[in-house]
């Protein structure tokens, strides 16, 4: 089959690889009809996530048709012919983490748990196409994928919704939603979202759906801010204005009640010298993150507010504003999304028309043009917000 693979830092390559087979009895094989490039794929390609290997199949946002199921998948859960969206964290459904609906912390699905444990203190779940640290599972930017624990994760789509309407239930819609949900939004809340990429856009939409009074989008790309504005959110361009001052202006001097970091470890920064400091530390590996968005969110948030982190971090960061966090009674909440928890309720919101995930799609390309898609997305060419690939 054809598959998009990691072939070194800043290099992806669509190549021929073997077709996937059943390896565990609760596996299914899915013929992929739509898949997407995620912002977190860029962290892999940019070389910020360790344990990638040449030839790793990328991609963790995908959906398609079940063409084979293992002997351990009960027929009432999944059958050949079912149309499914596959959540990016692989979860067993049986461990204590899964019982607590903390699916991305599943205790059983990462065969390389020993490595993850050394890096993170405790292991994390397996993730499709997302380094060997999260299990070494082939991803979904391919014609077919093996889906372990197929009786637990995949969401059956039984209505007539298009792929484009449901594909993002695999990751970015639940991720954005969880970012807003962790804010415990009240009707009086002003919510500020750092990053107007796909996850940020969905965090903004989710904050509105959850009842926020006002939602603010912070980015530097005019086209991304325009997209947020068209969806009813207030744009703030950090290339043009001082973010903290602008946020104070927009909130009567209080600061946003709730702040969402939808940027993560590769933030760009308005201040050249702080950006240079983090870049140098990152380059010599004495710091793995460039956490400008997180720092700014903590400093901007009103006292007693919540800072919710859904942007990806992988290691260690410097200059964490612990004083602001502690003295001003801020709550910091975070997590890789527990996608399985949100798929059904969010599908219902899509069916009811409360959320329109298609609004962020700017490009649809054949799988064979994945490399071009990565380039456009990374370099923000042609107003690229979200690339859907068709195998």
């Amino acid at each position: 089959m054809r598959a998009n693979t990691w072939s070194g830092r800043n290099k992806v390559e669509v190549r021929d690889v073997p077709d996937p087979k059943i390896l565990n009895h609760r596996d299914a094989i899915v013929r992929i009809t739509s898949t997407a490039i995620c912002g977190s794929d860029l962290h892999l390609v940019d070389g910020y996530v360790p344990t990638m290997q040449d030839g790793d199949v990328l991609g963790h946002e995908f959906m398609g048709e079940v063409i084979e199921v293992g002997s351990g998948v009960p027929g009432d859960k999944l059958r050949v012919g079912d149309r499914v969206v596959v959540p990016f964290p692989i979860a067993c459904g049986a461990c204590a983490a899964c019982a607590a609906e903390l699916y991305s912390c599943c205790e059983n699905t990462n065969p390389n748990a020993g490595i993850a444990e050394k890096m993170f203190g405790h292991p994390v779940a397996g993730i499709f196409g997302y380094s060997h640290l999260t299990g070494g599972f082939a991803g979904g930017q391919a014609q077919y994928a093996r889906v372990p624990f197929a009786d637990v994760g995949p969401l059956k789509i039984e209505s007539e919704l298009t792929d484009e309407q449901v594909l993002f239930l695999s990751d970015i819609l639940p991720t954005g939603y969880m970012g807003a949900e962790m804010c415990d939004i009240q009707p009086s809340d002003v919510v500020a979202v750092w990053g107007a990429g796909p996850v940020g856009q969905f965090a903004m939409d989710s904050a509105r759906v959850l009842g926020a009074a006002k939602v603010i989008a912070i980015d530097k790309e005019p086209y991304r801010l325009q997209m947020a504005e068209q969806a009813g959110h207030i744009p703030v361009n950090f290339d043009d204005v001082d973010v903290r001052s602008r946020l104070l202006e927009l909130t009567g001097g209080r600061g946003p009640d709730k702040c969402i970091d939808a940027v993560g470890l590769e933030a760009t920064h308005g201040s050249a010298h702080i950006a240079a400091y983090d870049r140098v530390k990152q380059a010599v590996r004495s710091e793995t993150e460039r956490p400008h968005a997180l720092r700014q969110a903590i400093l901007s948030c009103r006292s007693g507010g919540v800072v919710s982190v859904i942007g990806v971090y992988g290691g260690l960061l410097d200059k964490f504003p612990a004083g602001a966090w502690m003295n001003r009674s801020l709550t910091l909440r975070t997590g890789q999304c527990h996608v399985q928890r949100y798929m059904k309720p969010l599908l219902q919101r899509i069916e009811r028309g409360e959320l329109d995930p298609t609004r962020i799609i700017t490009h649809t390309l054949p799988l064979d043009e994945a490399e071009r898609g990565f380039d456009m997305f990374k370099n923000k060419q042609d107003n690229c917000e979200k690339v859907v690939l068709k195998p």
Partner: protein, 180 residues
């Protein structure tokens, strides 16, 4: 060499105990074992997997068993690598899980066998037992050892670093199996 490790399995103590008490189950998750065969009610014959030391076999007997709580065993006769172990099962505070505490003792011999065993355990001997217990938990909670494309061979995973790429296995690789 003394090793201890612990894990929590989300199953009642009676079930976790019963799985361990059937010693023939041990090779499904313990990387250094090829086979355990029950001989009598409390006696068994164990053989090691090649990396631990080729053609290493020994007899063992259960020295203590308290159903649902504790099992102790030791090698008998003149085993090449004399060893003993205990495992305790303690109900966890969540009311649904069982804490499993394992303690193993190996008398590492001299000569080439001793070297092979030392090499097997490597610089972090506890890692082996930790990984064994991780697989024990997988088998009890999910039914089998979880495989990925990067680590397709279950309990041989540690031998696989650097791993094969995270892309599907070819028919030839699958046919060759763990030796590939």
């Amino acid at each position: 060499m003394d090793l201890t490790a612990t894990t929590t399995v989300r199953k009642p103590a009676s079930e976790v105990y019963a799985f361990w008490r059937d010693l023939e189950n041990l090779p499904t998750f313990m990387a250094h074992l090829e086979e355990v065969r029950a001989a009598g009610d409390r006696t068994s014959h164990w053989s090691a997997a090649a990396p631990f030391g080729k053609d290493v076999e020994w007899d063992a007997e259960i020295t203590e068993e308290t159903p649902g709580e504790r099992i102790a065993w030791r090698s008998t006769g003149d085993a090449d690598v004399p060893n003993a172990g205990t495992v305790s099962f303690v109900p966890a505070p969540d009311g649904a899980s069982t804490e499993v505490y394992v303690s193993l003792v190996y008398e590492i011999p001299g000569g080439s066998l001793g070297k092979a065993v030392a090499k097997y355990f490597g610089e972090e001997p506890h890692q082996q037992l930790d990984d064994d217990l991780r697989r024990f938990k997988q088998v009890l909670e999910t039914g089998e050892v979880v495989r990925s494309d990067g680590a397709p061979w279950g309990k041989r995973a540690r031998k696989e670093f650097p791993q094969r790429p995270a892309q599907p296995l070819s028919d030839a690789e699958l046919a060759k199996g763990a030796q590939a």
